[in-house]
């Protein structure tokens, strides 16, 4: 059980430090499990010898040009050094509110304690006891003060660095709804959640993952609503991770998934604070990662991935209709090319005669069987799409022109592909963009290819066998213990109000059953609006 020991060590060390600075909860989540693997930082405590301490830190930060060591005299008497990393610290505040005060020789009492109490105008000051603590404080932008005769250093809460402004999320745009998205700065993201849910029940636990990147990860949940077993599971899985660096939340996603070989995402990623909060209100857990605007919402189900946040902001009848349309087109994006192939290859009698004649005429000069034609066109479409996404904007337009002209027109005129095939590919492409979550669209688009092969070899039967396989997979899939197809299978009739339709808010009285014994009631029932009736 070495893990347990490491957790304890962490809480005492740097984890404890961060707990106070960033979280409101701060009992269990903070931990620093990778402390032992950091290698070049000795866990030794600071001595009262100022020069020795400074020398030790200088050695740790050898060849780090961005670390500034500034020796000075407190009140012109006591030797001291302030250390900070350029770009992570507000130098102006450091100069005016700290160095300016300490270097003032007119102070009567020169003990650091009294200076801090009476003169230094910095709201957050923490003690650091070891080199390790110093490094942790410096890495997060806190200047560290080391003074002669003091065995504790002081970490000053003056961190400040350049960050991206809050912007509208580009991958999840909406017509009606809040326009702000998460940013790469985790503190800002957490504050966005806190601004929406102004309750102390919103708990935020912090931990650090990555032996080198020391990436801050925060688990947010609403106490009393969240399912405890899911929460424990999330905590446990995150703590299990051993990795050198986390650059994006997808690293975490792949390390905590239930079924790592599944093409379907088992985590809902979002850039929008309102989507994250709606997850919190439904009893889900939100995992925020430093350095990326994408938060993860777990557990998730297939149907919640097929919902857009804007469904809840539009009129509910409109949203219901859009949901049905979306389900239809999700099915089409998976099945349309394979249905086309199956019908043309095996079941021509299903096509009405006049339509069949038209299709046959357009296919007359096409040299490929339907399957080859479909595969060719679908691959071309995928290539065009991928090329368009990765290229710079100016070149992207050129790609789409070439694609539209070459594929859409020239190929048909040359008789290499048939016009109906182009229509099928185009509809499939559009349909796959109907999925509000990009990743789900990707999974479905990928599954289209084996489906086409099945359709080309066994016709409709092949499609059915493929669908059965997908269905079995989805039926067996779980996201943090919650069945992926819920609430359809296993059937929970009460929850269909948010899947089959989008019920109006006055009818959404209960939360989805993320757990069985937690608080399910969202609001008192019977709030359907109407003209005010006087009580008799």
């Amino acid at each position: 059980m070495p893990r347990v020991c490491m957790i304890r060590q962490g809480v005492r060390g740097m984890g404890g430090f961060f707990r106070k600075s960033s979280g409101t909860n701060g009992n269990r989540g903070s931990e620093d499990r990778n402390a032992g693997t950091k290698g070049n930082v000795p866990a030794s405590s600071l001595s009262s010898d100022h020069d020795a301490n400074v020398e030790q830190l200088r050695q740790i930060y050898a060849n780090c040009a961005d670390v500034v060591f500034r020796p000075f005299l407190i009140g012109g008497v006591t030797k001291a050094t302030v250390i900070y990393i350029e770009g992570l610290t507000s130098v102006k505040d450091l100069n005016e509110n700290f160095l300016g005060v300490l270097m003032d020789p007119s102070a009567e009492d020169l003990s650091i304690q009294s200076l801090l109490e009476s003169k230094v105008r910095i709201s957050k000051v923490e003690k650091v006891k070891s080199c390790e603590d110093c490094v942790a404080a410096l890495s997060s932008g806190y200047p560290v003060l080391l003074a002669e005769g003091q065995s504790d250093g002081m970490a000053l809460g003056l961190s400040a660095w350049d960050k991206r402004q809050i912007e509208e999320p580009s991958a999840e745009a909406s017509v009606r709804g809040p326009r702000e998205g998460f940013t790469e700065t985790i503190g800002v993201s957490v504050s966005q959640l806190r601004r929406i849910l102004k309750t102390p029940a919103l708990k935020i636990e912090a931990l650090k993952i990555g032996s080198l990147s020391r990436t801050q990860v925060m688990i947010a949940y609403l106490e009393g609503i969240v399912d405890k077993t899911v929460l424990d599971e999330v905590r446990e899985r995150l703590k299990r991770i051993r990795i050198d660096g986390i650059l994006e939340s997808s690293y975490l996603e792949e390390m905590i998934e239930d079924a790592p070989y599944s093409p379907f995402p088992q985590v809902k990623t979002t850039e929008r604070p309102d989507t994250a909060c709606s997850g919190l209100l439904e009893g889900r857990v939100v995992v925020l990662t430093e350095g990326t605007p994408f938060a993860m919402v777990v557990p998730t189900t297939l149907f919640s991935l097929l919902q857009s946040q804007e469904d809840y902001y539009q009129h509910y009848i409109v949203s219901t209709a859009i949901r049905w349309l979306r389900y239809l087109f999700v099915a089409l994006s998976l099945l349309l090319p394979s249905l086309y192939v199956a019908v043309l290859t095996f079941h021509q009698e299903m096509v009405p005669t006049s339509l069949l004649i038209t299709m046959a005429a357009s296919r007359e000069s096409v040299p490929f069987p339907a399957l080859v034609e479909a595969l060719l066109m679908e691959v071309t479409f995928e290539v065009l799409r991928e090329a368009g996404v990765r290229l710079p904007k100016q070149v992207g337009a050129a790609v789409s022109i070439v694609g539209a002209l070459v594929i859409g027109q020239a190929a048909v005129q040359a008789g290499i592909v048939s016009a109906p095939m182009v229509i099928v590919v185009a509809i499939t492409g559009i349909a796959s963009f109907m999925v509000p979550r990009y990743v789900v669209g990707l999974a479905i688009r990928m599954l289209r290819f084996p489906m086409m092969l099945l359709a080309g070899s066994l016709g409709l039967l092949g499609i059915m066998l493929g669908l059965i396989l997908i269905l079995i997979h989805l039926s067996n899939l779980r996201s943090f213990g919650v069945p992926y197809l819920s609430p359809v299978a296993p059937l929970k009739p009460g929850e269909l109000k948010d899947v089959a339709i989008r019920a109006p808010w006055w009818a959404m009285d209960t939360r989805p059953h993320m757990s069985e014994n937690d608080r399910l009631v969202r609001q008192p029932p019977g709030q359907r609006p109407g003209p005010h009736r006087k009580k008799q």
Partner: protein, 371 residues
């Protein structure tokens, strides 16, 4: 011995859906060709008599389950009859289900070749279906239960739509003369369907993993009644379309859908219907295979049933492929041999087992008090 090989849990509703698919899965393909031969105009009555056997099977399964909760049929046999006779009887049941499924899959493959894919080898059709069913069995009962919740509603809906679309062509006067020769012809017609209904004995393999076993009786009987309603409805619509010479058709309901033609656009939907029926077949085959695999693992007292999934699937493929030379033999078998084979294994023996178990339990309870 009492170790649970299956850790999944399913609800009573899912169990009910599974039962429905077990019976309807293959039956809907050939109904009511075999019934019509004896029952003529009264063929729609036969499923009502036959459903009695379904109720018996459900009752016996639940009765055994009450005496030996957490045990499947195979396990309780050893408890009731002692080790050696119990094992022998268990083996007989395993072979029975193995053959049942092999023949079921053969029926399915012949059906597909005869209707949708005439030039595809039946071996390919059987192998692909067994592959899919094996994947499902490998995933466990939970996955099959959940898939049934997606598939069965779709299945029922399609059936109802077909019936609705056929209504304009139905001629109600074909129903008459009703009971012309008394009740006997419809009873004779029930000989074949009683075997199908009694397949609900498979409930015994599902019950141990039921999360709410108190509702088992209610939902089990509901499934039998739903099957009965479906068959009565199917027989009625076929009778009203074709009159009493339905036994000429191999796949009457499928042939009937050729009548459907609306706006010169919605027509020739057989291929789609076949595709939907494949879904029901899948549930049926995976549940029987699950029962055989689980039963074999329990019979051999293994710690896990998963290693048996693929070998048993292969054996089923061989049985389906080699034990029957052609479709005529299969039809002959299902109307002359299977009803009595089934009557023995799915009705008479289970009743006997239940009786012996009842005596044993009473003896063991009564023993200490009287002595």
């Amino acid at each position: 011995m009492t170790a649970m090989l299956e850790k999944g849990k399913i609800s009573a509703v899912q169990m009910s859906f599974l039962l429905y698919a077990i019976v309807i899965g293959t039956v809907i393909i050939s109904v009511p060709a075999t019934i019509g031969k004896h029952a003529k105009n009264d063929l729609w009555l036969s499923p009502i008599w036959a459903s009695l056997f379904g109720m018996i099977a459900v009752g016996v399964s639940i009765g055994l389950h009450r005496m030996f909760p957490r045990l499947t049929l195979i396990q309780s046999l050893s408890r009731i009859f002692g080790r050696i006779p119990g094992k022998l009887l268990g083996l007989a049941y395993l072979v029975f289900y193995l053959i049942l499924n092999g023949h079921g899959i053969r029926l399915y493959a012949d059906f597909i070749v005869g209707t949708a894919l005439p030039s595809t080898p039946i071996l390919v059709l059987m192998a692909t279906m067994i592959f899919v069913a094996s994947v499902a069995v490998y995933g466990g009962i939970e996955g099959i239960g959940r898939s049934s919740q997606v598939i069965v509603p779709l299945y029922v809906l399609t059936f109802l739509i077909i019936v609705l679309l056929l209504l304009p062509d139905a001629k109600p006067n074909r129903l008459f003369p009703m009971l012309e020769n008394g009740i006997v012809p419809s009873l004779k017609g029930a000989v074949t369907p009683q075997g199908w209904f009694a397949e609900t004995l498979l409930l015994s393999f599902i019950l141990p993993c039921l999360s709410d076993s108190k509702k088992a009786m209610k939902w089990g009987l509901a499934a039998v009644l739903a099957v009965m309603t479906t068959l009565v409805l199917a027989n009625l619509i076929i009778l009203l379309l074709y009159g009493n010479n339905v036994s000429r058709y191999v796949y009457p309901l499928l042939s009937a859908t050729r009548y459907i033609s609306y706006a010169e656009f919605f027509e020739n939907v057989e291929a789609a219907l076949v595709a939907i029926w494949v879904l029901g077949n899948f549930i049926k085959f995976s549940i029987i295979q699950y029962a055989v695999v689980l039963g074999t693992a329990q019979w051999l007292e293994l710690a896990d049933y998963r290693p048996l999934v693929w070998p048993i699937g292969f054996v089923m493929l061989l049985i389906g492929f080699w034990s029957l030379p052609n479709q005529m033999v299969l039809t002959q078998y299902s109307s002359t041999v299977f009803p009595y084979y089934s009557l023995l294994f799915q009705t008479i023996l289970p009743l006997f087992i239940l009786f012996v178990a009842f005596l044993r339990i009473r003896a063991s309870r009564g023993g200490p008090t009287s002595g």
